[in-house]
Symmetry: C2
Subunit: 196 residues, 2 copies
Amino acid sequence: MAETALRILDEYGLPDLTMRRLAAALDVQPSALYWHFPNKQSLLAELADRIVAPRDARRDAPRVASQAGERDWAARTRSEAESLRDGLLAYRDGAEVVSSTLALGLGASGPGERLTAAIESGGFDAETSRRAATALAHFVLGHVSHEQQRLQYDSLGVLPDGAVPDALDAGGEQAESFTFGVTLLVEGLERHRVTR
Amino acid sequence: MAETALRILDEYGLPDLTMRRLAAALDVQPSALYWHFPNKQSLLAELADRIVAPRDARRDAPRVASQAGERDWAARTRSEAESLRDGLLAYRDGAEVVSSTLALGLGASGPGERLTAAIESGGFDAETSRRAATALAHFVLGHVSHEQQRLQYDSLGVLPDGAVPDALDAGGEQAESFTFGVTLLVEGLERHRVTR
DNA sequence: ACCTGAACACCGTTCAAGT
DNA sequence: ACCTGAACACCGTTCAAGT
């Protein structure tokens, strides 16, 4: 059932992921869904969990090219951020689904913990690591949400097909922009250690 | 009309801000709204613009206590980030309203430009400044969205009234957590300059 | 244990018609 | 120029009843 929901999500987007459509896809009455889930919100929470769950492809080995002389913890942290982004991008509107259930503490325990652990491996105390992980996660979610919203509007042909009138990121090249943001946070953390 | 919409938003939240409710509040038929706005999306875009528009209270003078020996541009950037946060927090679900309309390039041209200008005043090139402003804006939106979602769940009494089972930010004290994230980004930018 | 049928209380949007 | 009336095609959720 969650699998069918993910298929609808990826194919038609979050606004079209309705209980009625899901029921139709399962050849079942809408009311039947409420035996399996108490409401739509918990269905979405389940989807969020699956979206951020580690994919098989991305193993523990850091897939991000480490910069010259970069410390291990930084490479690991970058890698975690990158794979969180990949997870969100793997499904249409993935970032929005995860954001919407985040406050309940359901979706992000996995990635949140992995990010925190990566930072702690740099020798930062627990409090600092948790806060930095939060900041990183907020950046990733904000960035990917924006990115996916753009994808949606592009596919609808809403944007005039020439210039891209985007106030926040007129340049495109989302991946570079993403890496830059992660770099700022990681280097800010390094400087934070040096300074105090 | 936008003012009435903002009142409903602030009082009942985004899910309850429906065209029908707004019409009722204006003593008018729902269809009447469509003479003023082509659809709900553009109504929300208008609201987003007003939410991020500079408040009278926060003038150009930086209201953020500048850290010892901190450069001017950094204080200014912190101040812009802070006032963006204040703007989003001024209305219930403000961050979500702004996020949802952001990709159209409508909502954030104001604050996006102010953030970019603040960073550029530190001597960074246009490209770097734009990207850093984007990263900062994404962090701010992600952070405040999360913050406001928590407020909502708290008010609904969904969370067991003792421990706060939040995976991303178990500690509370949102303001400190916000400042910490901004600091990481600002210091990362400073280090970025030093390094290259 | 799992699903149907039917209903309740809603949505956003369109469009002819009124004034 | 601005609004009404009525409709269209949907929503999430509940609940008795079936098997």
